[in-house]
Amino acid sequence: MAADTTTNTPAPLVMEARGLVKRYGQVVALDGADFELRAGEILAVIGDNGAGKSSLIKALSGATIPDEGEIKLDGRIIHFKSPIDARRAGIETVYQDLAVAPAMSIAENLFLGRELRRPGFLGSVLRMLDKKKMLEESVTRMNELKVGIRSMTQAVETLSGGQRQCVAVGRAAAFARHVVIMDEPTAALGVKEGNMVLELIRRVRDKGLPVILISHNMPHVFEIADRIHIARLGKRAAVVNPKKISMSDTVAVMTGAKRVDELPADCLA
């Protein structure tokens, strides 16, 4: 379900943040940042180094606790104390280094930390894992997302970079209930593999999960994002429509060469 940009009614807000402030000693990483994520959209978050985008994402995913400001999920204020809290709230994050155990199989990695146990005595007393069920589920979920890996029992380290990324994205999509956050998913991937991952991200959105995407790769951002959140100097500089704004203008806002009020009105989203 793509964001409906042709009518005037925007889709409901899934996540919202107002006035986020985060200081690290003398450095102010977030200086009153705002944020909105609409249902069914892919929102790209871009910004130069030091613009505060990683601090923003860390606050949204529970990795850091902001000093000031509030975050709302589905209209309710939330206080994440750790990434586990965020996960329990239904927000899954795909980290830049993928967070997979290379020597273990795809199925094992999918269920790492959320293993399924056998029913009855075997599961509760002997605490045996239901490997068959986990394998079947992995196959099902990956097929849903059309990830073309043949065997779920092969070790993750035997996969190519792009395939590994798909496993990480697939895992997040399989367990997320509200939001999927992805940190630089196409970095370090070649053209073909990068496109494979972009396709997968689209399918995740089509499944009904909004995606927050952090990326330095402008062409990929423009290809896939429904809206682009530009972070600058610890604040939100603008949210723009990639179908209307040019790439060079976007970069200009990002670096401060152009001010937001210098942009034509229909570039904003």
Binding site: P83, A99, A101, M104, L112, R117, L126, T153, A155, E157
Partner: protein, 317 residues
Amino acid sequence: MKGRLPPLATLGPFIALLLACGFFATQNERFLTGGNLSLVLQQVMVVGVIAIGQTLIILTAGIDLSCGMVMALGGIVMTKFATELGVPPLLAVLCGIGVTTLFGLVNGLLVTRIKLPPFIVTLGTLNIAFAITQLYSNSQTVTDVPDAMTALGNTFALGGTTNVAYGVVLMLALYGLAWFALRETASGRHVYAVGNSPEATRLTGIPTQRVLLSVYVLAGVFYGIASLLSVARTGVGDPNAGQTENLDAITAVVLGGTSLFGGRGVILGSLVGALIVGVFRNGLTLMGVSSIYQVLVTGVLVILAVATDQLSRKGAR
């Protein structure tokens, strides 16, 4: 992982063991008898049980250099409690295991809370355990150990000349238990995950530090059981026990195909590794060859084992 042949690193040690047995069988017709083979099992049962604990630790990419000394301390504590303080044997055994578990806890806390490298930590506790053992025992062997404590050293007949020690049965049962836990339970898989990628494991919400701590504590329990087996086998509490078992246990784990970098390995491999060393020692003595050659062969096998592990992993990529 069904339908797939185990990787070379897992099969290799077993093949090496079979080849060694085959070779020694040709050199002396007594080698392949039930009596001789059950003897070898008895000779490796102490190192074998220590190696279970060591395998758990090495799977998390750690190492425990204090295992043998802690085992010796356990043996001294349980025998002295029973003979000098008149503690009933079962309670004395539990005290001995309690002390070794305590050392495991200390190792684990230093690694997880103070974040010191396991190599350094266990290098320190190895010396501390050794000193405490010597001081408490006054460097004297403890004799007149009650029969209940040495019961595991007794054997039962399995037909013919084959006499199996109860301790060996215990060792095999412990290996079975460890194998089951590591393969079929979430906690067991978490041990592998922590060793393979501690960051990834942390990010998926698994309490990495708790897993690490529990591994060191559990290893301490195994060292305590090993000290009981050592007392059962020799019939005494020996303060100088365990000095070669220290490195022997690590050798058994490496020979068994477990990677020192963590996250990879099969626990039964450590049993195979311990058996390889025991078979060579037994076989070479039967051939009348000096013990120095046994040491040489062990060194060569260790290098082969690590090299095979490295090469088979390169192939997987």
